[in-house]
């Protein structure tokens, strides 16, 4: 009997002690460390997809053909990437990743986006009045983009009990702005299995 009482006592002490530990800890990790918490679309997905798809787009013949015809590198712009999934995805961050991959490759030129252009134009307008003649930038000298990259992210979710399979598909296409011709279509898929236990103590 005494043994039983002692065991119960010990168990109680354990419960109390484990319940008192710090509930929050912070550990620093490298930004490229893969950390999957919720199973939702995260920074790693955004980065990996951008890297892979942009190295794919640059390896296709349209680039060489354009250079051959025009004797210069093409200028590209990223249009919209629509979120057609069932979760809130920061497509702005994804678009930034795409832009960075393209610019840093050094193989294409890059034109500022619609909103950025607006801001730059305001600055240029401002210069007309206030800047010195030597530093003044002229109107109507903007580089027009040759190609536009656009696409969407879709997802399919299948779930049964505590198991969920998330399947993302990122579709991107590169369109020649002058001819409307699609010169490249790429897709990248990500599949995640998320399990949640049905019971706890």
């Amino acid at each position: 009997m005494r043994v039983v009482v002692a065991a119960i006592g010990l168990a109680l002490v354990l419960i109390v002690v484990t319940g008192c530990g710090p509930s929050k800890t912070v550990t620093r990790v490298e930004p490229d460390t893969i950390v999957d918490l919720s199973g939702d679309w995260n920074d790693t997905d955004s980065r990996l997809v951008a890297e892979e798809m942009m190295s794919d787009v640059l390896s296709h013949p349209w680039l060489g053909e354009f250079k051959g015809e025009n004797k210069r590198t093409p200028d590209v712009i990223v249009g919209t990437v629509k979120n057609r999934t069932a979760e809130h995805i920061a497509t702005v961050a994804f678009i930034k990743n795409l832009e960075r991959e393209l610019i840093n490759s050094g193989r294409v030129g890059f034109v500022a986006s619609k909103e950025e252009r607006q801001e730059v134009r305001e600055e240029r307008g401002d210069q007309q009045e206030f800047a010195s003649d030597e530093s003044l930038k002229k109107f109507q000298q903007e580089a027009g983009a040759d190609f536009m990259l656009r696409g969407d992210i879709t997802s399919i979710i299948d779930q049964e009990g505590g198991e969920r399979v998330k399947y993302y598909q990122v579709n991107l296409e590169l369109i020649n702005i002058e001819t409307n011709r699609k010169v490249w279509i790429g897709e990248k898929r990500i599949k995640k299995l998320i399990t949640q236990s049905g019971t706890k103590f």
Binding site: K82, N83, R84, T85, A86, E87, H88, T91, I157, Q159, E160, G162, Q196, S197, G198, T199, K200, F201
Partner: protein, 447 residues
């Protein structure tokens, strides 16, 4: 032998002690009277303060409800950002509650369901995303609003699987309609057409389930999007059902969707069934089952006359019923009731056996019959008191959602709203109509 009886004795004492302690463990709802009074008069910040002050009344078992109430009150107050924050909180918590605590489940099996964390009725879980979608729509974030509409789809599919397709609340016509309007606003005409058509088909089942029909303008929306997509056959089909033929106007129009919340949503109360049976010794035993049920608080039928004014031009329209939350609540609870029956039945039986044990003990030690009878009665009272239906509800919900739709030339308008019972009106609500876009105006009259 001796050890088993010690354990039994200890268990019984534990249950009795818990019974006394937890007999009144349901959430206190006193403060809601003042909250609802504020809401009915449109004093949303007062209501928000009261809910916040009464945070302890929700306890740690009803934090989902706290988040739902706060989320909805901020939505009524026209503060989508705060509303989104609380709704996300509720949603995250509900997701975590998928993992059930075995120990709590065991205790709830002995006592009652109020000991379990409240995770929301099925329809309440779906409505979170409906309000989130409207929050995003209000902010003009169409893509995010559509994300919420897709989440509704996922939740409904999960429910259908859970009940093996036997549930009544399988689909939600209102959110499909809102999705249609959002897709159309996003120039995704094909998706808009599909959503409108789905909404119409679901409203046909609503007619048999809840006795409500599709808003009259829905057929026009289907015909319009079908015509724009050159789906001639579909356009003809819905025209023959009553939709107006669509001619593309020379200048693009914009839409205004007026979403009106009318009346107070339902609350739950408890129905108790008492069964009395005599045992072999002739002593009567009573055991009780307590079940929750929804009670309507909807007021007599009311609608809203909306006038859109731009300069000297005025256009009028009247809201139509689009979602009967009171009716959906009852059906949705019925879906779950089978499970509740089973549990209360099992619990009644368990308590009955435990009570029997106690009574036979009383009979053994008590010499006189009156003492024995009183003792038995006391046991019944204790056991009856622990049986308590879980009547927790998202009480700040409206009874109905009504819709009115305007197709107007782009420009700035003001809207006047007048309720058919003449006890509610709004004046000069500003709204900007943009070509090809849908603007949302939210009217809350939750009284």
């Amino acid at each position: 032998m001796a050890r088993t009886s010690i354990v039994q004795e200890a268990l019984w004492r534990y249950v009795t002690a818990l019974s006394f302690l937890l007999a009144s463990c349901g959430m206190s709802t006193e403060f809601y009277r003042d909250v609802e009074d504020d809401v009915s008069k449109g004093r949303y910040y007062g209501a928000i303060d009261k809910v916040r002050d009464n945070r302890p009344a929700y306890g740690d078992k009803s934090t989902v409800l706290y988040n739902l109430d706060m989320g909805l009150l901020f939505h009524y107050a026209g503060e989508p950002d705060s509303s989104i924050k609380y709704f996300f909180g509720a949603e995250r918590e509900i997701e975590e509650l998928y993992t059930k605590s075995v120990s709590l489940a065991a205790i709830s099996f002995v006592l009652n369901d109020n000991l379990l964390p409240y995770e929301g009725e099925d329809f309440e879980k779906v409505l979170i995303n409906v309000f989130l979608a409207l929050n995003y729509a209000e902010k003009g974030l169409t893509e995010d609003a559509l994300v919420e509409a897709r989440k509704v789809d996922l939740k409904l599919r999960a429910l259908a699987r859970q009940y093996e397709g036997k549930n009544k609340y399988k689909e939600d016509a209102f959110i499909r309609y809102i999705a249609g309007a959002l897709y159309e606003s996003d120039a995704e005409v094909n998706d808009a057409f599909i959503s409108y058509r789905n909404a119409y088909e679901i409203y046909r089942t609503y007619a048999t389930e809840y006795g409500i029909t599709a808003p009259s303008f829905l057929l026009n929306d289907i015909v319009r999007t079908a015509t724009l997509m050159n789906f001639d056959e579909e356009a003809e089909r819905y025209r023959s059902l009553g939709g107006q033929p669509y001619d593309r106007p020379p200048d693009a129009l914009g839409s205004v969707l007026v979403v009106a919340y009318a009346g107070r949503g339902p609350i739950k109360d408890e129905i108790r069934s008492t069964v009395t049976v005599p045992d072999t010794g002739g002593v009567l035993h009573t055991f009780q089952i307590a079940l929750p049920r929804f009670v309507s608080r909807a007021s007599p039928e009311r609608f809203y006359r909306i006038t859109a004014i731009s300069g000297i031009d005025t256009v009028e329209s009247t809201t139509e019923l689009a979602e009967d939350i009171t009716a959906i609540a009852s059906k949705s609870l019925k879906d779950r009731l089978g499970l509740i029956y089973l549990k209360s039945g099992g619990r009644a039986l368990l308590k009955f056996f435990a009570a029997e044990k106690a009574k036979s003990k009383i009979k053994d030690v008590s010499e006189n019959k009156v003492g024995s009878f009183l003792g038995s009665l006391a046991v019944d009272v204790v056991v009856g008191a622990t049986e308590q239906a879980d009547v927790r509800t998202w009480r700040t919900l409206p009874a109905e959602i009504q819709l009115a739709r305007f197709e107007l030339p782009p420009g700035n308008y003001t809207m006047n709203v007048k309720c058919s019972d003449e006890r509610f009106s709004l004046r000069d609500v500003p709204v900007e109509v943009r070509a090809g876009k849908t603007s949302f105006v939210i009217v809350d009259d939750v009284r």
